[in-house]
């Protein structure tokens, strides 16, 4: 794929595969970290959720540095732990799917200008613009699912002889030759996300993420970035004090989810695939409101229950 696409970070897996081996390996590291906790390793809190080139496609070069300045949402791996769990190969071994590039996954107040401001030009791929291209959410979900299945087939080298410019596209189209077995059956792409203190809920497309890292990144984008970037184009007077309080990185928020049994759990405890099958909705909670978060070094066989105040 043309390298130019990488500049907007809008190309998800395909650019990730073609051009960003470096980023790919970072994401794989992040995934491995999220799903395995070898007893002897110390979790590196410094492996920032939004670090390096971001979760995908070299996206947001301008943003990479800014991550350190913004608030972070804590997930399970942020807590030091000596809990050990069996190594689980992440079977959604998709390469970097940039959360920012999933158009449908972000419902928010972004204006087109925001997403353009980094590059100073028209939104070339249109991929960072909310609600563009205008495709129904249902269709978008199914495209994401199918594209993911296709990318996991790319390695098997199935492909027709086509014009080179269409090559990658054809691969994606062709990749559904064999039905991907565990492919998001029964799982809803979009789940609701609410953040304490913000009246409006959003929706995030879980199918667009392969690991907790990119998910947390996307949520930070959604809830923290939207107002700061509005300020950056100088058009809005809406000051959100929340984000400024978080600028020193003192994670005031926790990412939690409600599972099928109705319990609220800390995101990141279980392997990603298991999380996908049990999550019903997400909530970004203020740490001050969380009661009864069990210290992680206690009973590793017990689920970490959270009792929100």
């Amino acid at each position: 794929m043309e390298g130019g696409l990488g500049s907007l970070g809008g190309c998800g897996g395909s650019s990730g595969a073609a051009t960003n081996d470096h980023t790919m390996s970072k994401v794989e590291v992040a995934e491995a970290e999220a799903s395995s906790y070898p007893v002897e390793s110390e979790l590196e809190l410094g492996l920032s959720l939004g670090g390096g080139g971001g979760g995908g496609g070299g996206g947001g070069k301008g943003k990479a540095n800014a991550w350190g300045e913004r608030g972070r949402i804590l997930i399970a791996k942020d807590f030091p732990s000596v809990v050990s769990q069996p190594q689980r190969p992440n079977n959604n071994s998709n390469t970097s799917i940039s959360p920012a590039c999933v158009v449908g996954s972000v419902s928010g107040t972004k204006r087109a200008a925001d997403s353009v401001s980094h590059e100073g030009g028209s939104p070339t791929a249109g991929s960072q613009v909310v609600g563009w291209p205008p495709i129904r959410a249902y269709r978008m979900n199914s495209l994401v699912n199918q594209a993911k299945a296709a990318r996991s087939e790319e390695d098997k080298g199935i492909g027709e002889k086509d014009k080179s410019k269409d090559n990658l596209k054809k691969k994606i189209c062709n990749g559904n030759k064999i039905s991907a077995p565990g492919n998001e059956k029964g799982h809803l792409g979009f789940v609701k996300v609410n953040m304490d203190g913000i009246p409006i809920g959003r929706k995030v497309d879980l199918n667009a993420h392969a690991c907790y890292g990119t998910l947390a990144q996307a949520l930070e984008e959604m809830f923290f970035r939207s107002t700061t970037s509005l300020n950056s184009i100088g058009g809005e007077k809406q000051q959100v004090t929340k984000s400024s309080r978080l600028l020193d990185g003192s994670s005031e928020f926790l990412l939690t989810y409600e599972d099928k049994e109705g319990d609220w759990m800390l995101v990141g405890d279980v392997p990603w695939g298991m999380f996908l099958t049990s999550v019903k909705r997400l909530r970004i909670m203020r740490t001050s409101e969380v009661n009864g978060l069990a210290p992680r070094f206690q009973d590793r066989n017990e689920k970490q229950r959270i009792k929100p105040v």
Binding site: G126, S127, N174, K185
Partner: protein
């Protein structure tokens, strides 16, 4: 006309079926109003908040079939927060309370809960048809209630809904006595279904004419089902993955040979293209083909399939068909009336079709009048050619993946191209545009698009004049939706009376301010002017100069709605 007894008039009105015509009939005189209203069975409500259920019941006591639409169109693209509204429960509850003999319910972009589905299933003994399009809020438990209790169910049609799937058992809830099914579409369900129950259901439904399966129904079950439904007219294939040399595949070919009535084909949700030749038998009779969820079908296999479809009238396809594939369509499908070309990979931002495919279609398909086209690029020259070739367009929706891209050859805005379209296509009713567009295109639209009813605009225009041309010129405009355009209060307030002649107006990320919206709301009490406030910084006493990020206004007889969530203010 006063000399005819009521029964005669009623009998005459029975022949008037379209809602618009019936509305006209009811306005002739009081007696006609009375008779028409008491005998109307089918009602269409384009905006569920425009009128209260009680009022509909009062006017149409004989109502048997109702269509309701909820959320604004842009909700499809995640521009509307999840709990905005569009709840159908109050309607169903009112119908039940008033003992209406409801038989058919069709909903689009609404929220329907399991409780509501259960209420439907228990309240209306003759309930026959449930069609849900782009709805949410329910699970397969609700479907189980419908299956269990609606003894005369003919139609259960689920199109692109967001359904919480509790796995399989709802199909088993159809009692053995239920033999009335004519149409069953569960293609959008993500979970497994009880395959044995499905087979038994099909076996006892002799009237089944339309069946659309989800991905969980494999080829061998499909084959068994087809053996039982030789009269099937509309088939949605679920999972289509198999070895073309296998026993199952051969049985499928035999089964398909018996299905001589299939006119509409869709699905192939997971497809192995080399098995498609089994369907070549069916293709010559097909009038409708939807492969827009089948990225696995493309290239030579796809083109082969299309070449067999000589009678095709409607085609929904992915852009991996390419310009060359569209040329095959243009040369093979001379009866084509409607085509939709969807992007197969929105992330990459590269569509495999360009203006070349569009021009080919316009010149090859003389009956083509409705198009939705997602493409990589467009040129004025191409649009002008299309306009000349095909003046019969009634619906023209063009989406360039880069929304502000100019003419790919000349770098000019696409004003002239779209201008040619509206000038030539005198019957154009629906238009969506994209690409680099200035105020000029709106001047053209205002001048020429006399029949235009619905228009969607994004990232277009330069000044308020653009929107003003539109509002001034399009006399039949009913729905206007605008995003990311530099239109402000001057345009919004230019002709406030116009909005009462329209169903709704959506403006997001434009330049209208809170003050402008308040002013409009004050002048027009028959409109609900809603502001969607997505940050908690804005409150009702906020500075009127603040921009209203999302505004949705609609005419209504029901006053402000009572179910608006916190973040929606009705001014």
């Amino acid at each position: 006309m006063n000399y005819f007894p009521d029964e005669v008039l009623e009998h005459i009105f029975d022949f008037v079926t379209s809602q618009r015509d019936r509305n006209s009939v009811s306005q002739v005189c009081k007696p006609w109003y009375k008779i028409e209203s008491s005998s109307r069975q089918k009602v269409f409500v384009g905006n569920c908040y425009a009128i209260s259920p009680e009022r509909v019941i009062e006017r149409f006591p004989g109502l048997k079939s109702i269509t309701l639409k909820g959320k604004p169109h842009f909700a499809d693209f995640n521009l509307v927060p999840p709990d905005w509204g569009g709840f159908v429960y109050p309607w169903i509850e009112a119908f039940a309370r008033n003992n209406m003999g409801l038989e058919e319910l069709k909903l689009k972009r609404m929220i329907i809960s399991d409780e509501c589905l259960e209420l439907i299933s228990r309240s209306f003994a003759n309930f026959k048809s449930l069609v849900l399009v782009s709805c949410e809020g329910f699970s397969t438990d609700g479907l189980a209630a419908i299956a269990s209790n609606c003894s005369f169910l003919r139609e259960l049609d689920l199109q692109e809904n967001d359904v919480e799937d509790h796995r399989g058992h709802w199909l088993s809830c159809f009692p053995d006595t239920c033999t009335s099914l004519v149409s069953l579409n569960f293609a959008c369900l993500k979970g497994d279904v009880n395959l044995a129950a499905l087979e038994r259901l099909v076996a006892r439904s002799p009237n089944l004419r339309s069946l659309r399966l989800n991905h969980a129904v494999p080829l061998d079950i499909l084959q068994k089902i087809l053996m039982r439904t030789p009269h099937l007219v509309d088939l949605g294939v679920g999972s289509y993955v198999h070895d073309p040399d296998s026993e199952t595949y051969n049985k499928l070919v035999t089964a398909l040979q018996k299905c001589k009535s299939v006119r509409s084909l869709s699905g192939f949700l997971e497809a192995a293209p080399q098995c498609l030749s089994a369907f070549h038998l069916i293709c010559p009779n097909l009038t409708s083909l939807n492969l827009s969820y089948a990225p696995g079908i493309h290239g030579t296999e796809l083109r082969k399939l299309i070449r067999h479809c000589r009678k095709l009238q409607r085609l929904w396809i992915l852009d991996c068909i390419g310009d060359e594939g569209l040329e095959v369509v243009a040369s093979s499908c001379k009866d084509l009336q409607e085509i939709r070309v969807f992007p197969s990979d929105p992330f990459v931002g590269n569509a495999a079709v360009t203006e070349v495919g569009l021009v080919a279609l316009s010149s090859g398909c003389p009956k083509l009048h409705s198009i939705l086209y997602f493409c990589q690029q467009m040129t004025n020259a191409a649009l002008i050619t299309v306009a000349k070739n095909r003046p019969n367009f009634t619906r023209f929706r063009l989406c360039i993946l880069d929304p502000t891209k100019p003419d790919a050859v000349t770098n000019q805005p696409l004003d002239e191209g779209f201008g040619a379209i509206v000038h030539s296509c005198k019957g154009l009713r629906r238009l969506s545009m994209s690409g680099r567009l200035t105020d000029r295109v709106f001047l053209y639209i205002g001048m020429y698009a006399e029949q235009l009813e619905m228009i969607s605009i994004a990232f277009a225009g330069d000044t308020d004049e653009g929107m003003q041309y539109l509002l001034n010129g399009c006399k039949k405009l009913r729905k206007l939706e605008i995003r990311d355009c530099p239109f402000g209060n001057a345009a919004l307030l230019m002709d406030v009376g116009k909005y009462e002649t329209m169903r709704s107006l959506w403006m997001s990320s434009c330049n209208v301010t809170l003050g402008g919206c308040k002013s409009l709301a004050k002048k027009m009490p028959m409109l609900n002017v809603e502001i969607i406030n997505e940050t908690d910084q804005m409150d009702i006493s906020a500075d009127d100069r603040q921009k209203a990020e999302k505004m949705f206004l609609y005419r209504t007889l029901a006053g402000r709605r009572k179910d608006a969530p916190e973040f929606v203010w009705t001014l």
